[in-house]
Amino acid sequence: MTTNPRRNLANRCNALKSTGPRSVSGKRASSQNSRKHGLNSAPDFESSLEYRALVELIAEEGLSAFACADIAAGLLNYRRVMDAYYDTYTSPEPVDEFLRDVNVRASNPIFRELLSPSGSEPQDVREMAAFFASMQRQERRKGGPVSRRTADSHKLIRYQRNGIARLSRAVRRG
């Protein structure tokens, strides 16, 4: 872990020059970077053991096969949403303390040195400082860990609404 602020700032400036992954495995890994909870992908409950076990158990309530399948899928779908909700709640996006606390204005000499070691180019330095300042504003707006987990969990409300509506509908129809 880098603790030197100067080194940390240099690493971040260099990272901005990156053109992304080149290898197939790197591209495959980075294609999953924006994956948050996986609730938008279509689930395949029918082939799972849990589903079959649930269907058999529910069938003993005297419901039709169709109703049992519907209820089991609804229940598993609801559990999937609540598990994702728990995961989101327990692992919010970490606070970038360096970015939050760095004094962007005082870092101008470092930007100048990193961008043009031979001589300063005020325009580039100003742009870099402005870019870091905007990233810092975004980081600070997100708040602390509790604010982050609240905002992240809030995004899953619609999945919960749909999940419970599906389950409830299946049970009442059955």
């Binding site: 079959r52 076990a53 158990l57 529910i58 005297g62 609240t150 409830s168 049970v171 009442r172």
Partner: protein, 212 residues
């Protein structure tokens, strides 16, 4: 036959019905708790809800366990509201005064927590008093400003709590419908049995008439 159902708990599908209602419960009720939460408290809540059902079927048991989880989430989110306020207060303090660049958010947060609990040491209390004075704030002012700052997130927590209430309503309706159906089936069974017994009595009587 054993199935590993969802949370790594095995359910024996070939066991009798009355045992299954018990065995399905761990599948959906095994809680995912935070490190500082008590499983015993969670389970006792679940048991008290289950005791309100006459003879819980596997499905109604499963729905009740989901309902218990909702109540647990409401508890968590209620605590979050206080935490959000605390977080905002610490943020305001760490930005305040002449110490802007030297104060660590986490340090201020810990000191403030002790200060509000009344468990702060002399140095900590003095430190917080100093920052408050530098920021020209009193504790109630700080709380009001923090509430204003955190209002967006507090509203989000309220939405999350409201969602859990709506979910509970859905689950209650589902449990009611299962209960109603099972009572209806029982009643129809009883009526059918009564009709059959009536018919068999009639059959016996008619046989007696013929023989006499």
């Amino acid at each position: 036959m054993l199935y590993n159902v969802h949370f790594g708990i095995y359910v024996d599908v070939a066991m009798p019905v009355e045992d299954k209602s018990k065995s399905l419960l761990p599948f959906l009720s095994s809680p995912k708790l935070l490190p500082d939460e008590s499983e015993a408290e969670f389970q006792s809540g679940l048991q008290s809800l289950l005791s309100e059902l006459d003879n819980p079927s596997p499905l109604s048991g499963a729905l009740v366990s989901q309902l218990n989880e909702c109540l647990w989430w409401i508890k968590r989110h209620t605590v979050d509201k206080e935490l959000l306020l605390h977080e905002a207060m610490a943020r305001i303090l760490s930005k305040g005064g002449i110490y802007t660049e030297t104060y660590d958010n986490r340090k201020v947060s810990d000191a403030l927590e002790n200060y509000l609990d009344g468990s702060a040491g002399k140095d900590e209390a003095k430190w917080i008093d100093e920052i408050l004075a530098e920021s020209k704030l009193t504790l109630p002012d700080l709380r009001i400003r923090a509430f204003k700052d955190a209002s967006r997130h507090i509203k989000m927590v309220d939405d999350l709590i409201h969602r859990q209430h709506q979910t509970i309503r859905h689950l209650q309706r589902s449990i009611d419908s299962i209960d109603y159906k099972s009572r209806l089936i029982k009643r129809m069974d009883l009526e059918l049995a009564a009709l059959e017994s009536k018919q068999s009595v009639k059959g016996v009587l008619s046989l007696d008439d013929k023989s006499s």
